[in-house]
Symmetry: C2
Subunit: 281 residues, 2 copies
């Protein structure tokens, strides 16, 4: 497929939360979608939910597609992407949705067969759900999809993937893979770890009185631990840097509380103080 | 008013977000509501929104009420509650909605005129909005309302306030004022400070790619800084303890990342890993 064209046939490898949601979006935008997953139950549910036109357990299913999206668990993305590339038609477009980009992009680029156009990708979306059962095209609508080309990626391949992203209602942003990992550590991996620490720090007897803020700040802590453990492994250095920065900010706030100067450190809301009658008692 | 009875006339002092929402709820449940605020604009909007039957700038308006709720900014709650008590009819019920309870309850109890039944209160609700314009009875529906009686409070007064709370659709929970401050530091004050630190720790260029998690985890950081500065002042010790506990949990997570053992520390979600085709490439 070329820039400006929408894939006639797309293959999605790994029908989980993100893969399933992308399959629904691609199909809604007019592509014929081949779903690939070794789980018969996932394939069956993907068919039932209208996410795929056909399903197969074999990676050979990518041969029919002019766009292949690899959405397996993170620890398998690089090797499955390379395996898919070897089965694809020359000229086809290949992307993945791994949450950490530098290691995947380096591994795939070093093993890419000639004629396959690979651009790393990362849709900034998700939910505390998991699996095809939780997949939903509205999870993606309006969200950022980061493309991570390198000096080895042609501008034409970037343009082709950017067009697909736009057609399914997402907002394409282009970043270098290393820069991606640094920024995502800050806006995604750090908030997750903070959410886990918060849940761990609060005593059980305090939770019964918790209001909506606690619920919303600990929602992401419940998302799949196996995925996050792998993210922490693959993006360790950037995550440790973002944690150090956060710990520094928290220490400043604590110091402000201890010295009575916390007011200077808080962020201004649009407060309208209600005013009250005379203070004399 | 007695246990089991709903107030015929309730006065709400301070028509901000919480005061306005309580006025709406009390009125919807059948009380005549007198709104008291020195801001003519707040009184006018409260009338227009149907939150009050009548409004006045004078605290003398509490004389007509059998239930008085003080919902001023936190730094004024204790003195306004005492001033209201001196103007109330003997036998009437008095509560406040200050977010920190031990200092307020001690100050009010030490100055309470005979015949006035005071029970400290704290509705665990709110939004990033502020003022009567953002008031909404649905903010309170189904939320916890903490009552903080002491040895000086009669069981009958606690029962009367508990009944009112139930009638407006909130869930009454009874806590000692000091225990309240300790638990609220964990589930409310700590999450706020964590939210502020997160927003401060994330670089501007990272925010453009932020997904929904970052948005939801930093929402509360935008709520009125003046209120939070006062909460930090009044509940300093409990907040510092909860911060220390959180910092300890975060340090454990960082160590887990550095040593590759993070998987043991994360919380199990309901992950359904999608499975994928053969790994050989």
């Amino acid at each position: 497929m070329t820039e400006g064209a929408f894939p006639r046939t797309a293959a999605v490898v790994g029908l989980g939360l993100i893969g399933g949601s992308l399959a629904l979006s691609l199909r809604a935008a007019g592509a014929r979608v081949v779903g690939i997953d070794t789980s018969a139950a996932a394939l069956e549910m993907a068919r039932r939910r209208g996410a795929v036109d056909e399903g197969t357990a074999s990676l050979d299913g990518v041969a029919a597609a002019d766009l292949v999206v690899v959405a397996t668990p993170l620890d398998q993305v690089a090797q499955v992407t390379i395996a898919a590339a070897r089965r694809m038609r020359p000229g086809s477009l290949l992307t993945d949705v791994g949450s950490v980009k530098a290691p995947i992009v380096a591994a795939v680029n070093s093993a890419l067969p000639p004629g396959i156009r690979f651009v790393g990708g990362h849709p900034m979306a998700g939910s505390e759900g998991a699996g095809i059962a939780a997949a939903d095209a509205t999870l993606l609508a309006g969200r950022v999809f980061i493309l991570t080309p390198t000096s080895r990626t042609t501008p034409e391949a970037v343009g082709a993937l950017r067009d697909v992203v736009t057609r399914i209602g997402m907002r394409p942003i282009i970043l270098d893979p290393v820069q991606h990992d640094e920024l995502v550590a800050q806006v995604s991996h750090l908030p997750y770890l903070v959410s886990v620490a918060l849940l761990r720090a609060v005593a059980d007897d305090a939770r019964v009185i918790a209001g909506p803020t606690m619920a919303e700040m600990t929602r992401v802590a419940r998302s799949p631990a196996a995925l996050w453990a792998e993210i922490c492994r693959q993006n360790r250095e950037a995550i440790v840097r973002s944690l150090a920065r956060f710990e520094g900010e928290l220490a400043r706030l604590r110091e402000g509380i201890e010295t009575g100067k916390i007011g200077d450190l808080l962020l201004e809301g649009e407060a309208t103080r209600s005013t009250v009658p005379a203070r004399e008692t």
